[in-house]
Symmetry: C2
Subunit: 241 residues, 2 copies
């Protein structure tokens, strides 16, 4: 169990087998939950005082008003609500349920626990910090992705997505490349960061604390810096809000 | 290059190294494009006569009116449009761009090619047929997923998703399970079929004909039948249309 202030990257390097295991070009995917905990981004609901707006939205959705207060604090805009669900644009720009706030795997108190985890303040910066630390500890210049499980507008269930990246691309623009027949690809921009996040999520399983980190090796990706913001559709191109 | 009538499952069994390679419990992910081609689901645009509605929608979006005619034939409803984009609910129930119709990697004529591939008529049935054929050829009872690349409402880029399944779950409902601390998971339904599809898409790359099939081994998943329809959000729960 990760606690606030833990050297998360250091623990992952050791757990993976030590510094000699790591190779430049590896991509380390780390579950949001452990990043949030290491960064102290947890809140005990017993100390949260809900605003009138939170009380109103809690009544409308049947959710805990203290949790709703945190959701509002972590959001720019409430996008949609129905009983049991509040979809927001969070302060980082993600359209997601509950501003990504989650109760599972926080403290050791099971169903009596009232502590929740917020998303990292700046997941790209979290990824960059883990990347720097792994480079210091191992000499390997890796890519880092922070992943989380998000719902989708038109599909059931959650999938792993990238909420922070460093040293590995968010998008892979193949427009203009030729396919096998010589046809020029017209529309192919792959959300490669999200596909890597989903693949890692598959290995992490639903309680992403048991396996909170996955190393992806052997992908041949274009180099360069990126940001999870590249995965956020600009408001001007949003057809569904 | 796959042609109409090809024994796709037979070709994949051989390409993977023969019948002895396959194990019960493997999950075979096959790219939609090769399934469509093997099933003869290709259309030469030069023979398509656009309806007045297709001409109107083509003018509004700047798209080829013959392609728009096929998109309308393959759809239940036009959900959103903007220049260059038509988002529909297709005849199979998927919310996707262009009813999943794609031009790349069809024939050997590069940019002069006017042939497009439609989605399989019933991708669950396509998956079941490939599964039966692999069982016959190898004795292994595998799961099969047909994957395709879809855009998302609020995120940039495409990701692999499952459009047809047989013998492997679409969703994994973990509600009621305990996490590491004993906390009972409240909301965790994982779109495991989509995560597998995305992981395979990562290996297939953008032109999913070079590597049109991926075998996933070692995942411990609940058994049972499923359908890609389980991944489609019911209209009554849709907050965004």
């Amino acid at each position: 169990m990760i606690a606030a202030g833990d050297d998360l990257a250091g623990l992952i390097v050791v757990a993976a087998g030590g510094p000699q295991v790591w190779q430049t070009g590896d991509i380390l995917v780390v579950a949001q939950k452990v990043v949030s905990k290491a960064e102290g981004r947890t809140v005990d609901l017993t100390g949260v005082d809900p605003s009138p707006r939170a009380l109103e939205l809690a009544a409308a959705t049947g959710k805990d008003s203290r949790l709703v207060e945190l959701i509002l604090q972590e959001s720019r805009e409430v996008v949609r609500t129905r009983p049991g669900l509040i979809v927001v644009e969070d302060t980082r720009g993600f359209i997601c349920a509950n501003a990504g706030i989650d109760r599972s795997n926080i403290e050791q108190h099971g169903d009596d626990d009232e502590t929740v985890a917020l998303l990292p303040l700046d997941p790209d910066a979290s990824a960059a910090e883990i990347r720097r630390r792994v480079l210091t500890l191992t000499g390997a210049d890796i890519g880092v992705i922070i992943n989380d499980s998000h719902g989708r507008a038109f599909r059931e269930g959650t999938v792993g997505v990238a909420i922070g990246l460093s040293g590995t691309p968010a998008l892979w623009d193949r427009r203009g490349d030729a396919d096998l027949t010589g046809y020029t690809l017209q529309h192919t921009v792959i959300a490669i960061g999200d596909e890597i996040a989903a693949a890692a999520s598959l290995l992490m399983g639903p309680a992403a604390e048991a396996i909170p980190a996955v190393i992806v090796r052997g992908l041949l990706l274009p180099a360069g810096e990126s940001s999870a913001r590249e995965l956020q559709r600009p408001r001007s191109m949003d057809l569904f809000r």
